[in-house]
Symmetry: C2
Subunit: 370 residues, 2 copies
């Protein structure tokens, strides 16, 4: 079964859309937030817990799985879904972002990238063909083209060179790809330069993909600049294909992204800050270790009905963090993921009811605008 995107509704008062992404492992309602399971597990979570909180699709990282335990082992296990006991859709990134983040540890040529493993310093070579083969072996429902994400800030010249490689590599990925049950998405680059964003979008559309990632944003630039680039880039993309804003996951960026036409998001933010003891609530962020929570017998968020908020107090969760008990980060992770997944559910409902701008206003009145 092939991956297929179904556009359900376009908002009249924003660029927001409702859609359904059909995959071999089930249908995803968009706009969607994808929790990140870098090493074939969403840190601290079990598949059943992810499902209970409404997770429809997760992201896993090709770079990490390639290095450990290796795509061959996962393939031998029956693929990533079976290996990690997750029977809903999975998206794997291409490893490009991680490899280029290695800085002096990597060397780029037209052919691909030579890099040293962050685990043991061993030398590896990654190319569009290898990245695609690895992702085929992993067997996710959606895979990504191997791209070069220019850091922020970058000169026009550097960004242009990265874009050019990204286009050429995207074509090679498509050429190398041969699984009917997987969709390969291209990734629009072009940094903070509108002319390059336009060129990237057009070149990728010429090659033709069933979905488009928007890369190179949320890399350190001011949020208004990110929104500006989104506003410029998204209308260049086909309306009948999903648009995936990569690496974005704060509540404000999710809402602002949806309003500009984004269908898919992923980010480590909710799980990472949870392990650090920070939770997102309807009244903004809460740092659970703070002394003010010592005898606070309210739930993390009085308006939340996640497992953690239904059963535990701030005082108990603070105790767990002070005592370095694992249950603490399990509860905050459950809460933060539930918070974002529920936010997206409310966003979808608001689009359906033509009241997304009002929802946005109400949400930020309580949460605060970051």
């Amino acid at each position: 079964m092939a991956v297929r995107f179904e556009l359900i509704k376009e908002c009249r008062r924003s660029k927001a859309r409702l859609g359904r992404l059909h995959t071999p492992h089930g249908t995803i309602e968009t706009p969607v937030f994808m929790p990140v399971g870098t090493q074939a597990t969403v840190k601290g979570m079990m598949p059943e817990e992810l499902k209970e909180m409404g997770t429809e699709i997760i992201l896993s990282n090709t770079y990490h799985l390639y290095l450990r335990p290796g795509e061959d082992l996962i393939n031998e296990a029956g693929g990533l879904h079976k290996f990690m006991n997750w029977d809903r859709p999975i998206l794997t990134d291409s490893g490009g972002f991680q490899v280029f983040s290695l800085g002096p540890l990597r060397k780029v040529s037209e052919d691909g990238v030579t890099f040293k493993s962050h685990l043991d310093g061993s030398t590896h070579f990654m190319s569009p063909e290898r990245a695609t083969q690895i992702q085929m072996a992993l067997g996710a429902d959606i895979i990504m083209a191997f791209d070069e994400c220019a850091p922020y800030p970058s000169t026009w010249e550097y960004t242009e060179a990265a874009l050019q490689r990204t286009t050429q590599w995207a074509a090679r990925c498509k050429e190398a790809h041969g699984r009917e049950d997987q969709a390969l998405f291209g990734i629009v680059q072009g940094g903070m330069y509108k002319d390059l964003r336009e060129r990237s979008a057009k070149e990728l559309m010429d090659i033709g993909f069933p979905g488009y990632g928007i890369g190179g944003l949320s890399v350190g630039e001011p949020k208004p600049l990110m929104y500006e680039m989104l506003e410029y880039t998204i209308p260049l993309l086909p309306t009948d294909k999903p648009r995936y804003l990569m690496g974005v996951g704060s509540p404000d960026c999710l809402i602002e992204g949806v309003m500009r036409g984004v269908d898919m998001f992923d980010c480590v933010l909710p799980t990472r800050i949870a392990r650090n003891g920070t939770v997102m609530t309807s009244r903004g962020k809460l740092v659970i270790r703070n002394a003010e929570n010592t005898r606070d017998f309210r739930p993390l968020d009085e308006e939340c009905s996640c497992y953690a908020c239904r059963n535990y107090t701030r005082a108990y969760i603070r105790h767990l963090f002070k005592a370095e008990e694992i249950l603490g980060l399990r509860l905050t992770t459950i809460h933060n993921l539930y918070f974002l997944l529920t936010l997206m559910k409310k966003v979808r409902q608001a689009i359906a009811e033509d009241r997304l701008p009002e929802f946005r206003k109400e949400f930020f009145a309580d949460y605060g605008y970051e």
Copy 2:
């Protein structure tokens, strides 16, 4: 509602017994193994997971909870059950074992023990009265008398002095105790000296308790010596009261303890070795990090039907441990606790069917005798 022990059956071919321990939070089938939740959480586990694997009662540590977050806070939260979201029975130890384990950090007098906190070095005083008050504030179903556990080896003279204090303190604990919904158990000491064991048992029975802990065993002595002490001590205790062998939890010691008349056990062993990647299986111990498990797509134990064994392979769990992912220790903890709780269920069934000696033989034929 008071705590009450009901003796169901005595084995004809060993000293094993079947019983029911009725508590305000439910009835426990004995012989029972109690998982340890030192800091108001069984490390890595949620209450629902513990219930799913058949946990009937857990133990929590008074010393740790007194130091952090403090019994007042837990009492304010509505007691330990409510604080940690565990609605089944709880047993708290008295803190005696921990305080005496502090070595040079503590000073003993007739009145009690002055010690320094392992957390911040602050000075504290613990007495039979304080230990009882703290446990009353925590609100467990079963609480333990504040005792002195002599280390192994100890001279007869030292062991005798510790025993004498333990008896006097037990009387003071009983005097200080005033909750009808809690049972206070005495603790038999006497080290490896039969005359002292006998004296301790008799003195405690003169005071009179609804249950008796057997302390000062599994403290480093050879297992045959522990079994010998059990064989001597247990017949001295009343048959209509539960006997609790403290700090014991390896499969062989559980079976041997039951055969000598023990009704209750607790130990950190299954959860501690699980976090280290060692699991107990029907074929003995398995170290999951070992290279031989790299491509082993079998469950941890082919005869086990715990959540981990139903859904995950050795290869995946090994990957989780190599990648330092929390789900790894969650799965091994679930498995080890399930293994011991299921072992105890089988032991109870074997007693009911008068075939405990046969069960013991079969179990060790596969598991190996440690």
